[in-house]
């Protein structure tokens, strides 16, 4: 087995090649906002560059989003050959979580979702056990989040999607109601507390790295972790759905000043707010065994690990400090571990993780055109 450290570029994701198109698309998209005037509507301009798009429709704000699962289903396909389980109920939850955990960052209550299941050929849908798991997992995730599953697409895309594979995505619509729930970060300020909500494992980001690692391991996905679970099995723990937490917070009178879904770019996402602010952490949450294993096996240091994986923190809430303790309690009552781990400070844009002596600077995260 090689000892070369694995990073995102060697694992096949080259952000430098994607970003110029993203910038072009963001600029063109932004220029279409003027079309709303003919309908008597307007956009919330600050939502561009945030995780969901927000329109002002009068009595409330309307949020919408489309999100892709990524390549996690490839892990499920590989694990089925090992354990015989399909894992597609978990994969369904992962896919919906990509959309739901993003749309709640703007203060929206997710209300409806559409499924996008594009298979490499009709035979994908003929496997009834796997199809039934995908359906039941999708329904369960909708039920857990109070979402109505409105419909979707199940195309068979021979020649576009790889035979035997499926491209999974979810779109979601949410209402920000009352309008005071809109959280685009206008209230974020020095002194705010940062509460981190626990992840269940890798969620659906960092999967390219995990797949590359499995290729290097003699036992691949069947490699046992410290807790005796198989690597692939632990990778397939579904992404935590965080909308029950944000909805419960609102019922308790807590409106976060800002939220960040910790996905690609790991903890660098914590500084996604456009302002120059410093995010200082005095502690870090427990690292899920599967992420500890990945870091060790990929020979990457804390800086690389926290800069690309969630490392146990799936979602960050930025709150008035006097509400942080209650927010932790609300999450824990829902079975989601939460940690008052950091504070927002005046200062240059950066994330400082004190116990690990790791710092990410402003230029290490570029999300906006």
């Amino acid at each position: 087995m090689q000892q070369t450290p694995l990073n995102y570029k060697s694992a096949g994701v080259d952000y430098a090649k994607i970003d110029p198109l993203k910038v072009l698309a963001q600029q063109a998209a932004s220029s279409t906002a003027v079309n709303l005037a003919q309908h008597g509507l307007s956009e919330i301009q600050a939502s561009r560059g945030e995780s969901a798009y927000v329109l002002d429709v009068g009595d409330f704000y309307l949020a919408s989003i489309t999100e892709c699962l990524g390549t996690k289903a490839l892990v499920a396909d590989a694990m089925r050959a090992i354990t015989g389980k399909t894992y597609y109920a978990a994969i369904a939850q992962d896919t919906l979580a990509m959309a739901i955990n993003d749309i709640i960052t703007v203060g929206a209550t997710p209300v409806s979702a559409h499924a996008y299941w594009a298979a490499g050929g009709d035979e994908w849908f003929a496997d009834q056990e796997r199809a039934a798991d995908l359906v039941s997992g999708w329904k369960a995730a909708c039920d857990a989040c109070g979402v109505s599953w409105g419909g979707g697409e199940t195309p068979s895309l021979s020649g576009v999607v790889v035979p035997g594979r499926i491209d999974l995505a979810a779109s979601c619509v949410g209402l920000v109601r009352p309008k005071e729930r809109l959280t685009l970060g206008a209230k974020l300020r020095p002194g705010d507390a940062i509460v981190l909500l626990a992840s269940s494992g890798i969620h659906a980001n960092g999967v390219s790295l995990a797949r590359k690692l499995a290729e290097r391991l003699p036992q691949g996905y069947a490699t046992p972790l410290d807790d005796a679970r198989l690597f692939g099995d632990a990778l397939l723990d579904p992404t935590v759905l965080y909308s029950p937490v944000t909805e419960a917070l609102f019922r308790h009178g807590i409106i976060p000043h800002y939220c960040a879904n910790v996905t690609g770019h790991g903890w660098r996402k914590i500084m996604r707010h456009p302002d120059a602010l410093t995010y200082r952490f005095a502690s870090v949450p427990p690292v899920p065994p599967v992420l500890r294993f990945m870091q060790a096996q990929a020979h990457i240091d804390d800086r690389e690990a926290y800069g690309s994986l969630n490392m146990g923190a799936g979602f960050a809430l930025f709150l008035a400090p006097e509400q942080a303790g209650q927010a932790v309690e609300v999450a824990r009552q829902l079975g989601i571990a939460a940690y008052q781990a950091g504070v927002v400070e005046a200062g240059p844009k950066r994330v400082i993780i004190e116990p690990l002596n790791v710092e990410f600077a402003q230029d290490e995260l570029t999300l906006r055109a």
Copy 2:
């Protein structure tokens, strides 16, 4: 060259394999509607099985949809090798049209859209000419329909999407406002006129058949049609965007009793309304040269052609008969040819195309669980 007739099954789309999953998914989706009560919302139950999902949000109805392009981008990729053009501005319009032409069927004004562009690898996005065409075409289609492009996803899905290919989809949100614009077919009745809006060609349905046909032709996509255009070039005429017509109709005080977007299943889609009604056509619109060519080369009869392709009718409006003439005029003023071609009659569910002696019976279209 073989002379065997080509049909959908031999062209690689087997609806029998997709449908059981669709039924399972529709039933599970429908069972999640109860989740809306906790938000003080409700669904419009009749929208399930229609082309877009509709929620009652108080002052207006909210419609949403996610739609896939299908495999038409493969034709663009093949034609680029022949002419050097990318065709991706047209492909972008096709993709948005799949969502927009569906969401308007329920009476919605499309207001925002998200892009889903999932490539087989980062190198797809590095081709700046093609990427710029995709972006400019997407923006132009949004502008043509008064839609704000809210954002989207540009994942790189190595191992899921075929290298060098891209899986394109669009999601769209629309408002039905005032609520009287909701057109789920409650008013459809015998005596209604059927106005057909012209298509530009194949649009994005029947592409598997076109691709299979190109494989059988000695010159492939470079085969000249009667009008000297190349087969592949004509296939890539972008789908007509019909929302300018439905919006103009409303401004003229015309609310259709029902609408059908003529996509997969061709003219069989005209009987998609759940009621038992007969749709009788005394005339058919001119057939675009590319569809005439396809029918002839694939050796399929009128029944097969009209049962799977749009054959010149991209969208059907079902209207009070006294409004049909004005509806035709409104469309023509927007540059879209329109034809008062048929009537709705009491009788068993079927589509009768008199000039062709073709009839489709109820059991030839199954859309609902």
